[in-house]
């Protein structure tokens, strides 16, 4: 936006330069010719400013600050919820292991306690200073240059995906209300999408599976603006649908017939004749047809309700989602130039509809949506499924075929709405470019943008990103001079993932690498825009303080003529405060010029224009402030209630665990043989179990051995456990202890979950699964 204005200005200047030499506001005058709206009336500005008492000015100031604080609180709450949600999921899966008797209830409880504590723990000592500085620079680069991270989704392993997404979407770019972070996050997505497109061979397979990219996009659509859209567009109609409690929409003739038969037989006590009709012919039976036909109309009517909501929701659709849709459309066009208009629209539908809107229609009661208050009944859900099936085919522009023949009559609806929906998908993509948009929208205000940005990140997140980068350096930074290579070289090999209990969170300040003059304008812009605001405020104060008679009447005022007027006024009547103010303004103006934000050539016209516009819009500014605030407060309320929900979920998990613990024979000890061993666990040492090296090798526990052949016969391993879940393994040669290892069951299971297959020790390599099997047998874990 700014660039374009500057360009226009430049052109007009060279084209219609008049009068030169003297100190006249050339640019301003030229601009008044093209944009008369910007005629600056200093008197009017002064009047407005002076009419405002100080209270009001202060109040506005305060409100702005409060708004900023609310945004900060919102961002933090959202992050907290994400972490809580992830912890709950983790506990859930641990309980799964518990049910399968793979871990003990004590272990799960211990883990739960660690989670709650680790969420708030921030340690400064977790990373040595030198490493810390390197990581500060590394993440600084990653955060500002989307190309680095954009390459990673395609190489990230499935087991690493959740951690990677957490790191990218929430840790690095977690501030959902910062224009800067939004811009960078979306840029990462664009790059990642591009990679998927580059590797795709057919449109049919594109974005179809569940890849890291689609998972990232899902996380993105589930962030707050997406949720707000779903609520606004669908909550009302969904609640109404649930409340109306319509009769069943079931049109599957087999199910309809079955129900008819049951009802009839229960009512009459006589065998139904419909039961005699073969299944294949039931769909044509008049009794079945009579039920189905009106239902088809009901399904269509409900489809229409949803479709109308969706088609009229264009303006509410979050910008980021529309922008992603636009990228998909552009990339489809580039990659598959021969694709039809409909085929392109299908790609957008596959993203916006299939992955964003339709799941909310089918499961509005899911914890992640909560678009309706109560859980759905089976009947309502099935009704919604039938409706969603139609909408789904519509969004793909596919007519029902023989797959489920009973859906065929609904093709009429699909045909009717194909064109409007195609149009809607195309309109979705009609959005301005990122940079342009983010500057304009009030929602995005850079919070504390003059401070050094910091991120709170866990050690494992750091190590994961480190490892992913190290493994893919060639693709991440093809250029050998790329600054990231230097940092990576100094960092060396990525440390392995640490255990959950050691996975501390650290605070990293993001600072540019030393000696690197990185010419990126983002940070400078942020700092400069703060300076700009301060200067603007000072000029406004000057206008408020200056007596209106002190300023000569003219429509050609510039900052210079104003300052001149101020100097003259000072000569007539000295005023220390005013003098200080003038000096401040002059200093700041020079600084802004040095930054290239303002130019003396156009007499700093931009600032006066801004002040003029803002004063004119004083009322609407207040209004928009109030609107922003209301919006954020609503969001915050929702986020808080979700937080409460997550806490209650955690509470019920804990309750469950407590119950299991108090009745060990019941839920945890499902398999009978475990009982006796459970008792052992509570007590002291189990074992020792002596097993020879060769037996372990034969059984496959030892996958590979470096013990010299001659010694193998005399090598024995002794396993024992005197603490639940902890196994000590001592190696003896000729009866002399030579080595000793300690294993923790939980750590082993964690490795297993992470797809590790072996454990490497000094002299042997253990096969993880067989090792687990063996110790399970020995110790009855």
């Amino acid at each position: 936006m700014a660039e374009r204005t500057a360009a226009v200005r430049g052109r007009s200047r060279s084209g219609s330069l008049v009068g030169g030499g003297q100190k006249i506001p050339i640019a301003l005058r030229v601009k008044t010719l093209t944009e008369p709206r910007l005629l600056i009336n200093i008197r009017a500005i002064q009047k407005t400013l002076q009419a405002e008492d100080e209270d009001k000015a202060r109040r506005l100031q305060r409100e702005q600050t409060e708004l900023r604080n609310l945004k900060e609180e919102l961002t933090n709450s959202i992050k907290q919820n994400y972490i809580l949600e992830r912890d709950n999921k983790e506990i859930d899966s641990r309980i799964g292991l518990l049910i399968q008797n793979r871990v003990t209830v004590q272990e799960v409880i211990a883990q739960t306690q660690r989670m709650a504590s680790s969420a708030s723990e921030v340690s400064d000592a977790a990373l040595p200073q030198a490493k810390r500085e390197l990581y500060s620079s590394l993440f600084y680069l990653l955060q500002r240059e989307p190309n680095y991270l954009g390459i990673l989704p395609k190489v990230v392993k499935l087991s690493q995906t959740p951690a990677f997404i957490q790191a990218v979407a929430f840790t690095l770019f977690g501030d959902q209300y910062s224009a800067r972070e939004e811009l960078l996050l979306l840029s990462v997505f664009r790059r990642a999408l591009q990679e998927e497109f580059n590797e795709s061979t057919s449109m049919g397979s594109l974005l179809r599976g569940n890849s890291a990219v689609t998972k990232m996009i899902r996380e993105y659509t589930r962030r707050d603006p997406g949720q707000a859209y779903l609520e606004k567009t669908l909550s009302g109609v969904l609640e109404a649908f649930v409340a109306s409690d319509p009769e069943s929409f079931e049109i599957n003739p087999a199910k309809v017939a079955k129900k008819l038969i049951n009802e009839e037989e229960v009512a009459t006590g006589v065998k139904s004749t419909l039961a005699e009709v073969p299944e294949a012919e039931r769909s044509k039976d008049p009794r079945v047809v009579a039920v189905i036909e009106p239902r088809i109309q009901m399904i269509m009517a409900q489809c229409e309700v949803f479709m109308k909501q969706v088609l009229s929701s264009l303006e509410d659709m979050p910008y980021g989602i529309r922008w992603l849709a636009k990228q998909i459309a552009i990339m489809t066009q580039e990659r598959f130039p021969e694709a039809s208009r409909k085929a392109r629209a299908t790609m957008i539908g596959g993203f916006v509809y299939l992955r964003f809107i339709n799941p909310a229609i089918v499961t509005p009661d899911a914890d992640s949506y909560k678009l309706v208050k109560n859980k759905l009944t089976a009947k309502v859900r099935r009704n919604l499924v039938l409706v969603a099936k139609v909408l789904q085919n519509l969004s793909n522009f596919i007519l029902f075929g023989d797959k489920e023949a009973y859906m065929l009559p609904l093709n009429a609806f699909i045909e009717q709405y194909t064109e409007p929906l195609t149009q809607f998908f195309e309109n979705l993509t009609d959005v301005p470019e990122l940079e342009e948009y983010l500057k304009l929208d009030h929602q995005f205000v850079d919070v504390a943008s003059n401070q050094t940005p910091t991120i709170t990140i866990s050690l494992n997140e750091i190590y994961l990103i480190h490892a992913l980068l190290a493994d893919n350096m060639a693709e991440v930074a093809g250029d050998l001079d790329d600054p990231i290579r230097d940092i990576m070289a100094k960092l060396g090999e990525a440390p392995p993932q640490v255990k959950n209990s050691q996975n501390e969170a650290v605070v990293l300040s993001l600072v540019p690498p030393q000696g690197l003059s990185y010419t990126d304008t983002l940070d400078e812009n942020a700092a400069a825009s703060n300076l700009y605001d301060e200067t603007k405020q000072a000029v406004q104060e000057l206008l408020t303080r200056l007596d209106s008679h002190a300023i000569p009447f003219s429509i050609h005022h510039t900052l210079e003529t104003l300052i001149e007027a101020a100097h003259e006024s000072l000569l007539r009547a000295p005023d220390a405060k005013l003098e200080a103010l003038v000096t401040t303004i002059e200093d700041k103006l020079s600084a802004l010029e040095a930054e290239g934000v303002l130019s003396r050539n156009d007499s700093h016209s931009r600032m006066l224009e801004d002040i003029s516009r803002e004063t004119e819009n004083r009322a609407s500014f207040e209004e928009s402030l109030a609107k922003d605030r209301a919006k954020i407060e609503r969001t915050l309320e929702r986020v808080r209630s979700h937080h409460q929900f997550l806490l209650s979920q955690l509470e019920s998990y804990n309750q469950y665990l407590q119950n299991v613990r108090s009745q060990p024979s019941d839920a945890a000890g499902k398999s009978k043989s475990k009982k006796k061993k459970k008792k052992d666990k509570a007590g002291a040492t189990v074992g020792p179990f002596k097993v020879s090296h060769d037996k372990l090798l034969k059984d496959g526990v030892i996958a590979e051995s470096f013990v010299p052949d001659a010694r193998r016969k005399k090598t024995v391993l002794v396993f024992s456990s005197d603490e639940p879940g902890v196994i000590v393994c001592a190696a003896y040669f000729h009866g002399f202890p030579v080595d000793r290892y300690q294993f923790e069951l939980e750590d082993l299971l964690e490795r297993q979950e992470n797809d590790e297959r072996v454990i490497r020790l000094e002299y042997v390599v253990l096969d993880l699964n067989i090792f687990l099997h063996t110790i399970n047998k020995m110790f009855g874990f």
Binding site: L158, G209, T346, P359, K403
Partner: protein, 182 residues
Amino acid sequence: MREYKLVVLGSGGVGKSALTVQFVQNIFVDKYDPTIEDSYRKQTEIDGQQCLLEILDTAGTEQFTAMRDLYMKNGQGFILVYSITAMATFNDLNDIHEQILRVKDAETVPMVLVGNKCDLEDDRIVEKEQGDAKAKEWSCTFMECSAKTRYNIDEIFDDVVGQINLSEPAPKTKKKGGCALL
């Protein structure tokens, strides 16, 4: 006639619908048409008995996973499908398997692990041995199949029905024509 409720699960694009439609209707569909939830009925003879299979073909798109719990509660036998051309689809099944055990609250559930698209040998990423190993771990059956060529399709359904018969023998019924496995 005994009825069997079968559920087909797996990631998006692995060919759950293709496999199901091939079994039920002897057609190969290769259109891009993500499923939300389709149900099919098919009468067939397995182990010399007439059976009625009610097959639920589910959504692979992860956004619909909130519905899985319900399917799992209602299903008796499960067909877990991955594509031999995509490792991620193979790994995705771990979560599904775990969820089934949890919902069913049992250590084993009638289940077949299926590697689809075995006609695309050139694009193979998941080795047969990996499928075998996974099935051993889960104590279930493993088969590779091709919905396109119809290779091993009937066998999958035969097998899962056989497992259901073993795990929950048909209730004794006085009606004639009932499954007489007991």
